[in-house]
Amino acid sequence: MNINAYINNTKIFNELQKNQLQKNTSEDNEKNVSFLDTLKDKLNEVNDKQIEADDLTQKFIKGEEDDVHKVMLSTEEAKMSLELAVQIRNKLIDAYEEFNRMQI
């Protein structure tokens, strides 16, 4: 399945198109970035943000970090990333449900 809705990187998009064109001639799909990989990659980034925020909070409690606003910014970044991820998930679920409701 190839859904090309969630691609925020034009480079990937170009490569996908290139691969589509090349598909007829060669079967090697090692450069083909799948949608699932992109999603996993981005989810990992969201997770990294959470870990970073947690790390900074721990450091602040221990007294190693002395800027409160940096801790707040980091937690806020993590929160916003997660909100974005949730919205993307909602859109995916919506699309999936739309397909499920399709009359055959």
Partner: protein, 144 residues
């Protein structure tokens, strides 16, 4: 993704700068009557100096260099060159032959005004950060 948070990071650098300014103001107020500072001189008023923080960055898509904003950074804490105050107080241990004491060039009223400015600037940075956050949240409401 990190470009989304760039504005907030710039605001964060502003917050760090204001904290440093606040530190110097606190130091000035605390040492307003310190007559024995560095090398026997009275305390000299400290001023935090800031610099715009720009960075040349290679744009990978076009191969050209572009300047990106990274907010503000402190260059250093420098001495105020204004003349020291001379106060008549013969009972002071550091008074000279004529009974005058050289006091730091700190004016408490100026420091108080600076403190208000610094606090307000901090608030302004927090507000700008919140505004950016709200814009992001609003963008997530598209299509809801």
């Amino acid at each position: 993704m990190n470009n989304v948070f760039r504005g907030m990071r710039i605001s964060s650098s502003g917050l760090t700068a204001e904290r440093l300014r606040m530190d110097t103001i606190s130091s000035n107020i605390a040492n307003a009557t310190t007559t024995r500072g560095k090398n026997g001189q009275p305390y000299i008023r400290k001023v935090a100096v800031f610099q715009e923080n720009l960075q040349e960055e290679l744009d990978k898509t076009s191969g050209t260099y572009k300047t990106s904003f990274k907010g503000v950074k402190a260059v250093g804490i420098e001495d105020d060159a204004s003349p020291l105050r001379r106060v008549y107080d013969p009972s002071h241990p550091d008074a000279d032959k004529e009974g005058y004491v050289t006091m730091p060039n700190v004016n408490i009223l100026n420091e108080m005004a600076d403190m208000i400015a610094s606090t307000r600037a901090y608030e302004a940075n927090v507000n700008s950060m919140n505004a950016q956050k709200n814009m992001f949240s609003k963008a997530l409401e598209i299509g809801r």
